[in-house]
């Protein structure tokens, strides 16, 4: 078994979406994450706040942000436990963030460093 980090970017709903539409969208997330949990593939996950700070460079400059464009905004992540990349990508395929053209899922394998 390998672990993969799935990073969600962008927004899956219109800012003007109706309550009914938002509830329907939320239901899709429940189904998606709930399904992974049921198959014992879900390890953990969390949403991220829109605002944040960035510390950069040798001078350790602290700036507000990231003020990324909507579609680049990292909104959350989940960690899953599956056989291989193909399976991880297949799972990412069903992510509700992809209901919007601005949404994307980055799939990254967690590299396990063996004990010496």
């Amino acid at each position: 078994m390998k672990q993969f980090l799935l990073l969600f970017r962008g927004r899956d709903t219109d800012p003007q979406a109706s309550p009914e539409e938002m509830q329907a969208q939320m239901q899709k997330w429940f189904t998606w994450i709930g399904g992974l949990a049921e198959e014992k593939k879900y390890v953990t996950g969390n949403p991220l706040e829109d605002s944040g700070k960035t510390v950069s460079g040798t001078r350790k400059v602290v700036t507000d942000g990231p003020f990324a464009e909507g579609k680049e905004m990292l909104g959350g992540y989940i960690l899953i436990k599956v056989e291989n990349y193909d399976e991880a990508v297949a799972i990412a395929n069903n992510c509700p963030i992809l209901d919007s053209d601005t949404g994307s899922v980055e799939v990254r394998e967690v590299r396990v460093i063996p004990d010496p």
Partner: protein
């Protein structure tokens, strides 16, 4: 899993409570905060649903409202009642906390129903605005449900918003004689909303049911306040429940209208009929008899007849005679004529229909009159007249289901 329409219902609640804080003139501030709370919920709940979703939404809305108050200090525009206390930062938090208590939430929702159904607004505007504000429908959803284009709905909502601001409509529950007058308007609006769902040509059954359920939900809210819960509220609720009980039996899977005589009574909702009968009992307190009382009693007669042939037409005619005295509308007179036909035959029915004032006008504008007249002539074996009226009915209706029914009747004529 969330309960069906949770967000929609919570939206109406939150907008109402927030409007207590910001005032009717700032209703869009309330709507923005609610939208914001939903966006946050969508983000956070996807990973973990809070144990009490409604309470979470309310608390989030409250915190966002406090943020807005601190940031924007819209002092001069606060709802008057809360203005004094809210003008001081020190007092504002307890006041706001109080508005989010259960009984205050309900009170705010009632104020909102009365504001949306204010007589300064036209009936179509009232319905669109009620759906938007009290029921949490979007412009597109309202347009879809009422079979209007989105521009028309937008205009209605804008007009309502403007009127509410221009006429300085108070955000309160009227009392005394004013309550009686305003409650009649609210009930009428709720019944129109119900009929939009019950009789509309919308092909989507779920959307139509939604509207009926919304109307019933709003009416139930009225009965939760002891001053507003007048017998006529129960009468309207009773009527809507008993009509809703037959909802599924009125259309075939192919979308054809099934007439009362042919409806499968085994799929009528026994539960809704019982609730309807219970409301009918409660509506009999007091001495005011409204259309709703009589129409509910008529609906009850149909609901309790085990078979169509068991229908107590004589009793129904007595009720129609009463209804005629309260409200002699052309449709009431037409329905009464049909009942007379059931008792004394088609010849009598025809005589009654011909007595309807300005019949010619209605024959030209409402398909129902031509359709009924066509059927009466058919029963009298006057196939030529039947044909003329059915064809005229066919031209007058836009509903596919109604068209199919009339076409079937015309086809039947060709056999004679």
């Amino acid at each position: 899993m969330l309960t069906d329409h949770l967000f929609r219902h919570e939206s109406g609640k939150m907008v109402a409570v927030l409007t207590r804080i910001f005032g009717l003139t700032n209703i869009s501030t309330a709507e923005d905060i609610v939208q914001d709370a939903f966006a946050q919920a969508l983000k956070e709940w996807s990973f973990k649903i809070p144990p009490n979703p409604s309470a979470w939404l309310m608390m989030t809305a409250k915190n966002k409202a406090i943020d807005v108050l601190r940031r924007e200090r819209l002092k001069q525009n606060y709802e008057q009642e809360a203005a004094y206390e809210l003008s001081s930062q020190y007092f504002s938090i307890p006041i706001i906390e109080n508005l989010f208590m259960q009984n205050e939430i309900r009170d705010s929702q009632l104020r909102m129903i009365f504001a949306c159904c204010h007589p300064a607004l036209s009936e179509p505007d009232q319905i669109a605005f009620t759906l938007k504000i009290c029921s949490g429908f979007s412009i597109e959803e309202i347009a879809g449900a009422l079979l209007l284009n989105t521009d028309t709905v937008k205009k209605r909502i804008q007009r309502a918003r403007k009127l509410i601001t221009d006429k300085s409509i108070k955000f309160d529950i009227p009392a005394g004689a004013e309550l009686k007058r305003r409650l009649d308007i609210v009930l009428h609006s709720i019944y129109l909303l119900f009929n939009e769902g019950y009789n509309s040509g919308n092909k989507d059954n779920l959307i139509r049911k939604d509207l009926c359920e919304e109307a019933i939900r709003l009416a139930i809210m009225l009965t939760e306040n002891k001053y507003i819960a007048q017998p006529k509220c129960y009468a309207l609720l009773s009527l809507m429940c008993m009509l809703a009980a037959r909802f599924d039996s009125r259309l075939s899977p192919e979308g054809e209208i099934i007439l009362l005589a042919e409806q499968d009574r085994s799929i009528w909702s026994k539960e809704l009929i019982d609730i309807g009968l219970d409301y009918l009992n409660r509506s009999s307190a007091g001495d005011e008899i409204t259309d709703y009382h009589i129409e509910a009693a008529i609906a009850a007669e149909h609901c309790i007849a085990p078979k169509f042939s068991d229908t107590n037409w004589k009793r129904i005619l007595v009720l129609y005679d009463m209804l005629k005295n309260v409200n002699a509308s052309p449709v009431v007179l037409l329905n009464r004529a049909i009942v007379i036909g059931k008792i004394d035959g088609a010849k009598k029915a025809l005589e009654e229909i011909k007595k309807i004032p300005e019949l010619e006008k209605y024959l030209k504008s409402n398909y129902l009159f031509s359709a009924v007249l066509g059927e009466v002539y058919f029963q009298l074996n006057d196939f030529q007249q039947a044909q003329i009226h059915f064809e005229s009915a066919l031209k007058l209706t836009k509903s596919d289901a109604e068209k199919k029914l009339i076409e079937k009747k015309i086809k039947r004529l060709s056999r004679y």
